[in-house]
Amino acid sequence: MNIITFVKRVPSTTTRVLIKDDNALDPTGVEFVLNPYDEFAIEEAIQQKEKSGDGHILVMSFGSADSQKELRTALAMGADEALLLQNPDAPNADGATTARTLTAAVKEREFDLLLFGKQSVDKDQHGVGPAVATALGIPCITEVTKLDITDGTVHAEREVEGGREIIEAPLPCAITCQKGLNQPRFASLKGIMAAKRKTLDIVETDMGTPLVEVLKMEMPPERPAGRILGEGVAAVPALITALKEEAKVL
């Protein structure tokens, strides 16, 4: 099975976010990591390759030169080959522009399965996987928590508001991975050593005119200061009164 999986370098979720020039993230002091949902995609790629008996995993990223680190992590986990579509402005690209750029690179290759994280935890757009699949004319199943591929048919499960959907689609297919799909492995020392010998191609990539323009970035409004109503059970009546009379939410 030929698998392409996609990764992005993002600020860690434990990091504090500050804004620079009203339109971009201030990277000073920010810890960057492999997008956590992409770890599920890499792990799934490795498991599906093992299950199919043979195959190849290409890990691809549209990113700045720094993204080599995240690609090396994916290689250390078990991907076979990496490709960096390099552009210094890639970290600020919107989902549609990213999808357009990735689609052009995917089109040149043979594949059975595309594996994405369900979202990147920076711009939280949830749209790159479905957009790439649509541009390629293949089905896509998003936010998958269970995946089984038998005889060229994908059987997947996902959670939707208030229920679970069981979805079927033929290969080639795109999947976006949700927490719960698998338990991503840590790269072993052997894996890290092996990754150094694997191919990481870097291709300077033009992203064209962005499809989304950022007019402004700002911090969310501060919440008005709240108050401690008291200690223990004795404070419950005051809370009920405040919820009813003041906040008017009961």
């Binding site: 979720t13 711009k123 749209g127 479905p130 957009a131 089905p139 069981i166 970035m217 008291g230 939410v249």
Partner: protein, 318 residues
């Protein structure tokens, strides 16, 4: 004349409540851009209530009676209708299905998209959207370039137009897709999903263990329409399913009332619930960061406070 297409979400023939919010947002946007038409499209079999959709802001409702739900089929249908109507924008709800469809539609229409928006603006005669990024730690205001503006709107942030009137209901053909939903299993427990609920009762590691969850269930039972939520630590410990996780790597919620019990307030959790209208924090550690963000706080042991809270709430909400 502006024409905005709204994609309705239905399940088992029933409209999801957030679809009426998207219709209302489209009405306000169309009116803000100088007037025009709002058309709502259902991509599955659905018996439309012409007056509730008309009241929400739709002029017309189109029903494409696909036999089964297919996300790629729905995207093809929606893209075709958007082109036929020469729509300048397509609005959806940012639900699991809506977020999925948003990216597909943008690609099918060769346009950009604005996902999970919390407000829409029409100043200067063009549409722009504000949306949380970095899990709500910052906001960005963006404008979509491209032939059609595709935008998904976060549930609980927009409202129906409440303008009276009836929508005209018509049928249209449905495209078929390669992927199909073969089964939908309803969630057990009868509580709404945490991302859609208007009230959330949420627990953290300070609850002590999964056996303490009956305390939260009792509070939730006393609050009609409420959902259960959990912190990441709780989900990572296996006490509760991931579907209940609130935070940057879980669900982002904005209910009227969020009750955080035994939750210290890690930055990634705060990002996921900071949009709540009223936040109540109950925690035995008076220095817990959650108290900086809560509207009301009680310092104390959840095991003692929650049963009393459940009892007192039941008296008020009955």
């Amino acid at each position: 004349m502006t024409h905005i297409l709204v994609i309705l979400e239905t399940r088992d023939g029933v409209l999801r409540p957030s679809s009426l919010e998207a219709v209302g947002a489209a009405r306000i946007a169309v009116d803000g851009l100088g007037g025009g038409t709002v058309t709502a499209l259902a991509c599955e079999k659905f018996s439309a209530d012409a007056s509730s959709l008309g009241n929400a802001g739709a002029d017309k409702v189109l029903i494409a009676s696909a036999i089964e739900h297919s996300a790629d089929g729905a995207a093809l249908t929606a893209a075709r209708v958007a082109k036929e109507l020469e729509a300048s924008a397509v609005f959806l709800s940012a639900t699991v299905r809506g977020k999925d469809l948003c990216g597909r539609l943008a690609a099918a229409l060769e346009s950009g998209f604005a996902a999970d928006c919390t407000s829409a603006h029409t100043n200067g005669g063009s549409l722009s959207f504000t949306r949380p990024i970095y899990g709500g730690k910052a906001l960005q205001t963006i404008q979509v370039n491209g032939p059609v503006v595709v935008a998904s709107l976060r549930p609980n942030y927009f409202s129906s137009a409440e303008r009276g009137g009836e929508a005209v209901v018509e049928e249209t053909s449905a495209e078929s897709g390669k992927g199909r939903v073969v089964k939908i299993a309803a969630k057990e427990g009868g509580r709404p999903d945490v991302a859609e609920a208007n009230r959330v009762v949420s627990g953290g590691r300070g609850m002590g263990g999964e056996s303490a969850w009956h305390l939260l269930e009792a509070v939730s039972d006393a609050l009609p329409g409420s959902a259960l939520g959990a912190s990441r630590a709780v989900v990572d410990s296996g006490w509760r399913p991931h579907s209940e996780q609130v935070g940057q790597t879980g669900k982002v919620v904005a209910p009227e009332l969020y009750i955080a019990c035994g939750i210290s307030g890690a930055i990634q959790h705060l990002a996921g619930m900071n949009g709540s209208q009223c936040i109540v924090a109950i925690n035995k550690d008076a220095d817990a960061p959650i108290f900086q963000h809560a509207t009301y706080g009680i310092v104390g042991d959840v095991a003692e406070i929650l049963p009393v809270l459940a009892e007192e709430l039941a008296k008020v909400t009955e």
